[in-house]
């Protein structure tokens, strides 16, 4: 039951990532296409643009969601591949534990950066 729930969350995160990560990639790597579609604003990687996104609460929430879904989806997939290569019960527990600890650590770091940047946007 637990594995089927984890797998369902893997599919849900995949669908969420198609939208969230797709938008992120469009903003970062398809600037000309977005300008042709009528988008305005400076270069995505200019510090002023980064600060503007940090000020927007909706963008901060979307970044946190993107990070959470990406970490879960990626680490669940990597966990599956690693458990195929090392399939003993002890290796499975190690892989599961390491994936969970690593994912939580990176998520906490990312959210702290998002919150801190949001609070100090414009004062840096």
């Amino acid at each position: 039951m637990r594995e089927s729930r984890l797998w369902s969350l893997h599919l849900i995160s995949a669908c969420a990532l198609i939208v969230l990560l797709g938008l992120h990639m469009m903003i970062m790597h398809y600037e000309s296409v977005l300008r042709w579609l009528g988008a305005t604003g400076g270069p995505a990687l200019a510090f002023a643009s980064v600060v503007a996104r940090d000020r927007d609460a909706v963008m901060r929430a979307l970044y946190a969601l993107l990070l959470g879904f990406a970490l879960y989806h990626g680490l669940y997939g990597a966990r599956g591949i690693l458990r195929e290569v090392w399939s003993s019960p002890r290796a499975a527990r190690l892989i599961d534990g390491a994936s969970a600890v690593f994912g939580v650590a990176v998520f906490i770091y990312g959210v702290v950066v998002i919150v801190w940047a949001g609070r100090h946007a414009g004062t840096m």
Binding site: L17, S32, F47, Y109, G110, W116, M124
Partner: protein, 154 residues
């Protein structure tokens, strides 16, 4: 007269042969259709993306150190090797996303047809999904081409 029946000779213990292919199975293990190689590429692109993600989180976290540090970081990322690497990340995401759409649809039972009787010519789910596979790979090619053009004009 008694008939001596010789004692049965014990069967020799067969040698332990591992039939697990391991990573070699990712390359070839028989009649792999094209979709099998798409799945292997899906795994490789996924591993590449999850290995890139923590580095990306750390690099983008540099913005909290101020505009000078951010501009220095962006200048480092303009190195040609890193620009190629960034394009590979974009390519990995484009392929992983579109192939993932195919996999999610197949997992949920869409685009693979109904189960049929095993009557020749046998219906195969992969063949039923092949038109969608071709369309999705064409979309991957289009997005990759536009992405490559964006990188070149930067």
């Amino acid at each position: 007269m008694t008939i001596q029946i010789p004692a049965a000779t014990p069967h020799p213990t067969p040698p332990r042969i591992s039939r697990r292919l391991g990573l070699r199975g990712w390359v070839y293990a028989g009649r792999y259709p094209a979709e099998r190689y798409l799945y292997i590429l899906h795994r490789i692109s996924g591993l590449g993306l999850i290995l890139y993600l923590p580095i990306h989180v750390w690099v983008t976290g540099r913005r909290v150190a101020g505009p000078e540090v951010w501009d220095q970081t962006m200048a480092v990322l303009k190195h040609p090797v890193l620009v190629v690497g960034e394009f590979l990340v974009l390519a990995a995401f484009i392929f992983h996303a579109f192939n993932g759409i195919r996999l999610v649809l197949a997992h949920l039972g869409y685009t693979i047809g109904r189960p049929g009787h095993p009557v020749y010519p046998y219906p195969v789910a992969l063949h039923r999904q092949r038109p969608l596979t071709v369309v999705l790979m064409m979309l991957v090619a289009v997005f990759l081409a536009v992405g490559a053009w964006e990188f070149m004009i930067r």
